[in-house]
Symmetry: C2
Subunit: 316 residues, 2 copies
């Protein structure tokens, strides 16, 4: 336990168990789960996941905010943020998990897992036509750290890879488009759409019927596929269901939802063409992430700039 003079860490989490984070951080720094009082002057750092809105602005000596995940939309959901640096976590472990999830879902759609599982139930021995990966185009929306790592792995498996991002982000071996005018040609060339965008006011509900209708309809998989591993509020679930109903979309793998946990009443649970995971594509693992967060604090205390700073303007 260090002196409170060094500044305490506020660990503020909603919908995530703080226990392991608390134990690991406590070995090195003094940590609290809530301020002693609203204007607690001993708190210098905040590590947050969906913190209560307004709580950070009242802390007079707060110097930096750390998201314990790759996304920071949950931080910006608080409109009363103090004007101090905000950093997100970038960890090889998180990236590896996300790439695994994307490869897993892309391969299952590409290799027709749903058809084979249905056949097995009926004891049917039948081989559907199987395109090779080099005839299938995966389109990745969002070419940040995660999108680029996923693109690179999919290329190595043999897929054609397209990429779209807000600003031009060229990448070797990937056909890239950007901005509003790049969206339609990107979608037109894509069979499996993988969404890894940050959630910002500009991307909220971007995955709607009009986007899905622009995916390549006559590709080698017999219809386009959606994989969302970004954020639930990027998608309009009623539009995804409509697209599955009218044949615009063949299948979807969704790890994130407009409301989480996904309500029991959602028709997505029992839709035969939808694969649901509980926001588990790349879970923040305290064993891997706590050392990185402590390094960030040390960097700050040495007077160096933080890594992985978030741009308040763009929201990611």
């Amino acid at each position: 336990m260090t002196e409170t003079g060094e500044g305490r860490i506020l660990l503020s989490m909603t919908g995530m168990n703080p226990r392991r984070w608390f134990d690991l951080l406590s070995k090195h720094r003094e940590v609290v789960l809530e301020p002693d009082r609203a204007d607690d002057p001993t708190i210098r750092y905040a590590m947050v996941w969906k913190h209560p809105r307004g709580v950070l602005a009242r802390l007079p000596n707060l110097q930096a905010i750390f998201s314990v995940g790759a996304g920071v939309d949950h931080v910006f959901a608080d409109s009363r943020l103090p004007d101090i640096p905000i950093a997100r976590v970038v960890a090889q472990n998180l990236t590896q998990h996300m790439v695994e999830y994307v490869v897993w879902r892309v391969m299952d759609h590409h290799r027709q897992g749903a058809i084979y599982r249905a056949q097995q139930q009926r004891r049917v021995w039948h081989e559907p036509a199987q395109p090779v990966s080099s005839d299938v185009a995966v389109g990745i929306m969002g070419l940040g750290q995660l999108g680029r790592a996923a693109a690179s792995q999919l290329l190595s498996i043999g897929f054609k890879v397209n990429g779209w991002s807000r600003n031009d982000r060229p990448m070797e071996g990937v056909a890239t488009w950007h901005g509003k005018e790049g969206l339609t040609p990107f979608l037109n060339a894509t069979d499996i759409l993988v969404v890894l965008l940050p959630l910002t006011p500009a991307t909220e509900a971007i995955i709607d019927l009009s986007i899905l209708k622009r995916l390549r309809p006559d590709g080698p998989l017999g219809g386009p596929v959606l994989v969302n591993a970004g954020r639930g509020r990027l998608q309009k679930e009623s539009d995804i269901l409509a697209a599955l109903e009218d044949g615009t979309l063949k299948e979807a793998s969704l790890d994130v939802f407009e409301t989480e946990p996904l309500p029991k009443t959602s028709p997505l649970w029992k839709h035969p063409s939808v694969f649901v995971t509980p926001h588990a594509a790349a879970t923040s693992d305290p064993e891997h992430l706590v050392p990185l967060l402590l390094e960030q604090i040390e960097r700050h205390e040495r007077g160096e700039p933080l890594d992985n700073l978030v741009d308040r303007q763009s929201g990611y």
Copy 2:
């Protein structure tokens, strides 16, 4: 259509539709589906998949036998083979399909597809503990063309990769063992066993209970997994079922079976921990393979040795 003087091709297939092969080959060479008479002297080449036993030995001018798949066990099932070169097909397309299948099945076991599908049926939002790929060891039995390509792809995804083969076949980044004495240490270090062995008298029924019992029991996936994409007669299905029953084995993905098509009466069809595909991991695609087979014939006619010759002694 060329003159019969050049020598005709016998295309002899069982359990595989020869139509497309016949049409594609016929554009370049004269092809027959059976000899005009048992000792037909006009047949110079045989392209085969499970040909009727004894038929090739009677053809006086046969110069080479081509398997239209990567495996040649179906050729050697004929004990009366003429003493002429036998070649198997090695094609980028076949290799790519096989690597896709292996990545697909390994990812689905690694990312706990069976758990998530069961949870979705019950509308359960719950995240099981998820190891990262670098904590999971995939062991590949058979380090030929296909095994090495699969190993390389799994390494790039981040798995630990072990390899075993009859003779020493070192590979960068892969922990390799060989021969009888290498088998136990290889299995002891393996969480997901991927079988890509050729079927020979030495490997027949090699995947039995004693092999499965040597897989790492306390690995990060909560039990070992079997993936067989080689040949069905490499495995003892009664032993696989016993291993699943007593908890030796957690799950299996089987693309090949002792009897194919898998009989309707097999308990593998409805076993909740078994994923069945109909020998579809890497299907011989005539569009890709016919040009390679024609190249082989041209090579032979120029007096050059055939590619991908089979060693009659080892049987692969």
